[in-house]
């Protein structure tokens, strides 16, 4: 009897989900739950031209780095090389030489092959992307350069792969600025998007906070106490020159207007924390907020027409959106005791923020219409300072889930949370740049 009931339920659920009455010719069943929420991708070792020991090692590093970099995006499931019916020593890597059934049978939907030559310190790498089910090459590039540029070469191809799949520029030309206190003072550091090559930018020997990238990546604004007062500094990264905004009171939380040499920042010289629009050299253009109490941490909509910011005008800290043309202000967040640190997605549709709940901080996203707040982090205790990747697919944030505060990355859906890097001291306040690296 029990079995029978189960069967009934099974049958009923199939019919309920399934047959579309309008499809008269045959039943239609619904397929709504993909087993794998990523694209299965195979990156076998590259084929080597010379076969020397150095070449093999360098070639394997290149293949591994390509695999890791594509994995970083969260779009792919990298398949285990052990399962491949492929030997780069004997098998060819071009369309005519590949047996695509050997790849479809292991579940690969995409395949990247490489042909690698190392002579002296020169490298030549041919990289190809295949759609295995269509048995077709969809990308093919040949790169020549110095072995020291191998990382750049691989990332250039990765950008091509992402461009093929999404039409966008991806993330491989971006960097992440963050605050680290490894030297005993909070200073600003910069690393590549994947945590590679972290380097200290400021040597202020004083608390330095709130890094903010200009859209072209040439300028970084931040707040530092190096002159005793929390002043705002705007640094030309190439020339290492700074201009300074040093009004009475605090000068904090800068945010560059998209595509402009202007930035919004919070200044308190009026006696009240208000948001102002400044030129890139630090001159006040106009005041953007006007309300008693705190107005801080502006973040721009990608079209530059609105800002979201934090205000305590309703009693506790909540996020508001101001339309700069009409001057109209709307409250965005209602759930949670305190909602702060808004970051507007480069795709424009969502705002990530930090919400205080039961003594912990967690990262949420919410539609810019105030709909559908979604909690992305659950790990105790504090997850803060979300900042979007330039393509809006990933979010960088800080978390003390493993003890000290460190920098983590997750997808915009909150999946694939991982630590970005390990440095001495604690790391906080990450800010993801747009794509500006010459990789």
């Amino acid at each position: 009897m029990r079995r029978r009931i189960k069967l009934y339920i099974l049958i009923m659920s199939v019919t309920l989900l399934g047959p579309s009455l309008s499809w008269a010719e045959y039943d239609v069943i619904d397929i709504t739950k993909p087993f794998l929420r990523k694209i299965p991708l195979a990156v076998p070792l590259f084929k080597n031209a010379v076969g020397s020991g150095e070449e093999k090692q360098s070639s394997q590093e290149a293949a591994d780095f390509l695999s890791d970099s594509l994995d970083f995006t969260g779009y792919f499931k990298l398949l285990d090389r052990g399962a491949f019916l492929f030997d780069p020593e004997t098998n060819g890597v071009t369309e005519t030489d590949l047996n695509f059934q050997n790849w479809t049978v292991v579940g690969a939907e995409l395949l990247v092959t490489g042909y690698y030559r190392l002579t002296g310190d020169d490298i030549t790498i041919e990289l190809r992307l295949f759609d295995t089910f269509k048995a077709r090459r969809v990308l093919g590039k040949k790169y020549t350069g110095k072995v020291a540029n191998q990382r750049d070469i691989i990332l250039r191809f990765c950008t091509e792969v992402i461009k093929y799949l999404t039409g966008g520029e991806g993330i491989f030309g971006s960097e992440i600025a963050f605050v680290s206190n490894g030297t005993g003072n909070k200073e600003i550091y910069i690393s590549a998007f994947d945590g590679y090559n972290p380097r200290r930018l400021t040597t202020n020997n004083a608390i330095t906070l709130f890094p903010a990238w200009s859209s072209d990546g040439k300028w970084l604004a931040f707040t530092s106490y190096k002159a005793g007062n929390p002043d705002l500094y705007i640094r030309d990264l190439a020339k290492a020159q700074e201009s300074k905004v040093s009004k009475q009171g605090i000068n904090i939380t800068p945010a560059w207007a998209p595509g402009k040499f202007e930035l919004a920042a919070t200044l308190s010289f009026s006696g009240d924390q208000e948001i102002y629009l400044l030129t890139g050299s630090g001159k006040i253009i106009k005041r953007l907020t006007k309300s008693r109490g705190i107005d801080v941490t502006p973040t721009w909509s990608p079209d530059g027409k609105k800002i979201a910011f934090v205000s305590n005008r309703s009693g506790n800290a909540q996020i508001y959106i101001k339309d700069l043309a009409t001057g109209r202000v709307n409250r965005l967040t209602y759930e949670g005791q305190k909602n702060t640190q808004p970051s507007w997605s480069p795709r424009g549709d969502k705002i990530a923020y930090t919400s205080q709940m039961d003594g912990e901080h967690h990262i949420f996203t919410i539609g810019t219409d105030g709909q559908n707040p979604v909690q992305l982090t659950y790990e105790p205790r504090d997850n803060e300072s979300p900042s979007w990747s330039p393509d809006g697919s990933l979010i960088v944030f800080s978390s003390d889930r493993e003890g000290p505060n460190r920098i983590y990355v997750m997808t915009a859906f909150g999946t694939d949370q991982r630590r970005l890097l390990v440095l001495a001291g604690e790391q906080t306040n990450p800010k993801w740049s747009m794509n500006h690296q010459n990789n």
């Binding site: 049958i11 199939v14 794998l36 299965p40 859906f413």
Partner: protein, 259 residues
């Protein structure tokens, strides 16, 4: 004023890029494995399914003879009463009597002889079907009433039921083979693609076609690939006698988001 946005993305000179000349092979020219055949549908060796899918054997539940013999004065005993002990027995009986009375009223006008004739015809028809005769349109009609509850005497209930079980099996199988990144496809959950397949008796997918493209090439592609990967499907139910079976699959990322 710094240049924004449109600056040269890549430094030139350090790295030279050119399109790989194709289809010239790699310089080393490894021996080519069998070139890929044109493959409308890739035939795979029947892989070991990660989870064993129950064979579509004629389902034990269906054992009872089709209720084709439903005759005029029906037995007033709805199946529900077996499951639901809380049912009000007296009410049931009342309604049953009422129905019997109605039937009787109706049959009064008919000649008894023609009623018996009708009954004989129905029985004959149902026997023909269980004997493996032509199933007629029922499996293709598909969306009709479900076998056991139907009981209307139209026959085909049993085949219908095993097809429904088969549908559940292939739904499971195809879903297992569907790799789809919502992150890549974008936020829209409204997308849907409808593909149809023609399955041969041995489970081989003979044909795949689109009934409706989603407008999102990535979703369309991933759906197509899921079907190719699912080939071959389990064999058709043994009591399904037609040489092939057509079914549509509606692929849509409804309610995916994060999980």
């Amino acid at each position: 004023m710094p240049e924004f946005g449109s600056g040269p993305r890549f430094r030139s000179g350090v790295v030279n890029v050119s399109l790989v000349s194709l289809p010239s092979g790699p310089p080393a020219g490894g021996p080519a494995p069998a070139p890929a055949k044109p493959q409308p549908v890739v035939k795979k060796p029947p892989e070991k399914p990660a989870v064993k899918i129950p064979e579509p054997k004629p389902v034990p539940v269906v054992k009872k003879p089709p209720e084709a013999v439903s005759l005029a004065p029906k037995k007033a005993k709805p199946k529900k009463s077996l499951k639901k002990k809380t049912l009000d027995r007296s009410k049931l009986i009342d309604s049953a009597i009422e129905r019997v009375e109605k039937k009787v009223e109706k049959t009064e006008t008919d000649s008894v002889a023609s009623a018996i004739e009708e009954l004989k015809r129905k029985i004959a028809a149902s026997e023909g079907q269980t004997g493996g005769g032509s199933v007629g349109t029922s499996p293709q009609a598909g969306t009709g009433s479900i076998g056991p509850t139907g009981g209307s005497g139209s026959g085909g209930a049993r085949v219908q039921e095993s097809i429904l079980i088969y549908q559940a099996e292939i739904q499971y199988r195809i879903q297992k083979n569907w790799a789809f990144s919502q992150q890549l496809a974008g936020e829209s959950t409204e997308l849907e693609a409808i593909l149809a397949i023609k399955v041969l008796r041995n489970g081989e997918i003979e044909d795949i076609w689109f009934d409706k493209k989603s407008g999102n090439a990535y979703l369309d592609d991933s759906a197509y690939k899921a079907l190719v990967k699912s080939n071959p499907l389990p064999p058709l139910p043994t009591d399904y006698v037609r040489p092939h079976y057509k079914i549509g699959l509606r692929f849509g990322p409804k309610g995916l988001k994060r999980e």
